[in-house]
């Protein structure tokens, strides 16, 4: 992690594609400079010595939470589809993945 990192237009395009955000070119320019500023601040973490420190993903005492495989009431199909922008009978309708 280095400070004063500058994100290039190609970097922004790559991130926007990963995040599935169709940003306008104006938005891309604004976000690029804002991210540069934020990344500059957060890069202070590189100075912290974490050589022998484990990662914390979540502060919890729980490990491998299981439940019994028991059937219980769940949504009816109609209820589950109620907010679907497009539906086809009992299915969510979505565009073809292969382009």
């Amino acid at each position: 992690m280095t400070s004063a990192m500058t994100l290039s237009p190609a970097d922004i395009d790559h991130l926007a594609m990963l995040a599935r955000l169709g940003l306008t070119s104006n938005e891309r320019g604004i976000i690029a400079s804002q991210l540069d500023n934020i990344l500059d601040h957060v890069s202070t973490l590189s100075k912290v010595d974490t050589a022998h420190v484990d990662e914390t993903a979540r502060v919890t005492e729980l490990v491998d939470v299981w439940r019994d495989d028991v059937m219980a009431p769940s949504f009816l199909v109609d209820v589950a589809l109620r907010n679907a922008p497009q539906r086809d009978g009992q299915y969510f309708k979505v565009g073809a993945i292969q382009e």
Partner: protein
């Protein structure tokens, strides 16, 4: 009876002795909302029909059970719009969920309904709970009832303002980096973030799954204890929900602070803290000392890296959580010629600027080539933050400090994103370490409320409430009412 300023306890007494009824409390709440929402914009949706049905059931229950019914029975509550409520639109303050009607109710809200509370409506918030001023909502900003040119704080600004304005007796919010405690401080009410894992996140629109917690806004600490007691406890539907029993907070609430060691983290009183806030909080600390607590200066050296740690971890988690908004199963959809283009356009049209900013930041932190330097590094620093607190809690019982470095600021004052992030510098470390934290009123600076923050070890939520109660009852700050609440009451 002045319903605009009553507590849960006072409502409960009046409901049982016949002074009022659930329908009357509800009708008055709805009238107060109508009188104030044009100016405050605290509410996004009201559910009067359902609420009246709940009021009828509450009245029957009070008739049947009397004093053994929960004190929340028949009392009006508002719910932050990131908590799912079956049949009531839930937007998370975003256009991408406009019109979304959840098919189920979040556990925290269901527990309030099961106790007989009356859900009046959904409150405004920063979009997807991202913000510290409630200026990021797609449905307009919320105004602070103490000064409507100023922000109420965020992201649970609507929930805080709704209580501070005397429109509902209590409300629920969520806190990921301070989003209950900071608006509580800026609006002069009590706000609590329980220990991570204490309150179910089932049905909460997820922002950062390792940080989010649901908690109450109330007018008093006793009310806060009642609400916390009702919503806390294991939920099999949330695998991060702690199975450990919740001891009734009301049993230990009045024990006082005599003999308790209260740590004062010196890094929380440094540069960046407004001098008026500092002086007000220091007076509160002296008050705690006069009540028999021993104040001990402690050091939390990781304080200065808490913000950076959070602003890598939280956007990373949110970029993962918000991937579900693809216009397929719910939410805004703008169909294009290809599926990828549909995703990109739907999300671009549906999300606001702060959401996009954090999605891009989080995606960067998790992307190949940067994951180790940013996300993994931040996770390691998070361990150090948690260890800092564990170390001081070997020596002290709880910590006391300011909640927010500033009082409520004018709308539009913090347009630079990073300057807005600095609002949460004193609350964020508590979320990173999974600890309970509470803010309660401790005074004013130029007529604007100041919050005192109490932080405890994990699962010491009852102790946090006990310390807060002792301070509150030795002062009269909790009796102060905002100009909006006073105007409605008169």
């Amino acid at each position: 009876m002045n319903w605009a300023t009553t507590t849960i306890g006072e409502c409960a007494r009046a409901l049982r002795d016949g002074t009022t009824t659930p329908h009357e409390l509800l009708t008055e709440s709805l009238a107060r909302i109508e009188a104030t929402n044009g100016e405050l914009n605290a509410f996004l949706a009201l559910s009067p029909d359902r609420a009246h049905e709940q009021a009828t059931k509450a009245a029957e229950r009070l008739q049947k059970e009397g004093s053994s019914a929960s004190p929340l029975c028949g009392v009006p509550v508002a719910i932050k719009d990131v908590l799912c409520t079956e049949g009531i639109e839930t937007t998370a303050g975003s256009k991408i969920l406009q019109g979304f009607i959840p098919p189920y109710t979040s556990t925290a809200v269901q527990r309030l309904i099961d106790a007989g509370a009356i859900v009046v409506g959904k409150t405004n918030c920063d979009e997807f709970a991202m913000g510290s001023s409630n200026e990021n909502s797609a449905y307009g900003p919320v105004s602070n009832p103490w000064d409507t040119t100023r922000v109420p704080g965020g992201s649970s600004g609507g929930s805080a303002a709704a209580v501070a304005a005397g429109t509902v007796t209590f409300s629920l919010g969520t806190d990921t980096g301070g989003s209950i405690r900071q608006p509580a401080a800026l609006c002069g009410v009590v706000g609590m973030k329980p220990t991570y894992g204490r309150v179910s996140r089932y049905g909460v629109v997820a922002l950062a799954s390792s940080l989010d917690q649901v908690g109450p806004f109330t007018q008093t600490v006793e009310d806060c204890a009642m609400v916390y007691g009702a919503i806390a406890g294991h939920d099999p539907r949330d695998s991060t929900s702690s199975p450990s029993a919740v001891d009734d907070p009301l049993i230990t609430l009045r024990r006082g602070v005599e003999g308790l060691r209260l740590g004062v983290p010196k890094e929380y009183f440094g540069e960046g803290l407004d001098s008026g806030v500092k002086a007000t909080v220091e007076k509160a600390l002296q008050q705690l000392e006069s009540l028999g607590a021993k104040l001990v200066e402690v050091s939390l050296p990781t304080t200065d890296v808490g913000l950076s740690t959070y602003y890598i971890i939280m956007p990373a988690e949110c970029s993962s959580n918000l991937a579900r908004y693809d216009g397929v199963r719910f939410g805004h959809c703008a169909p294009q010629s290809s599926l990828t283009a549909t995703y990109m356009t739907s999300r671009d049209e549906g999300f606001g600027p702060e959401t996009k900013r954090r999605l891009m930041l989080g995606t960067y932190a998790l992307s190949s080539g940067y994951y180790d330097a940013y996300y993994r590094k931040a996770q390691k620093v998070r361990t150090l933050v948690a260890e800092d607190f564990s170390r001081v809690f070997r020596d002290v019982d709880a910590l006391v400090c300011p909640t927010s470095p500033v009082v409520a600021f004018p709308k539009g004052d913090r347009s630079d994103p990073y300057s807005m992030y600095l609002c949460d510098v004193l609350t964020i470390p508590v979320n990173l370490a999974g600890l309970p934290g509470l803010s309660l009123p401790c005074g004013f600076v130029d007529g604007l409320p100041v919050g005192l923050q109490v932080i405890g070890p994990r699962f010491a939520d009852n102790l946090v409430l006990q310390v807060a109660y002792a301070y509150e009852q030795s002062t009269a700050w909790h009796k102060e009412r905002s100009p909006i609440a006073s105007a409605v009451a008169s």
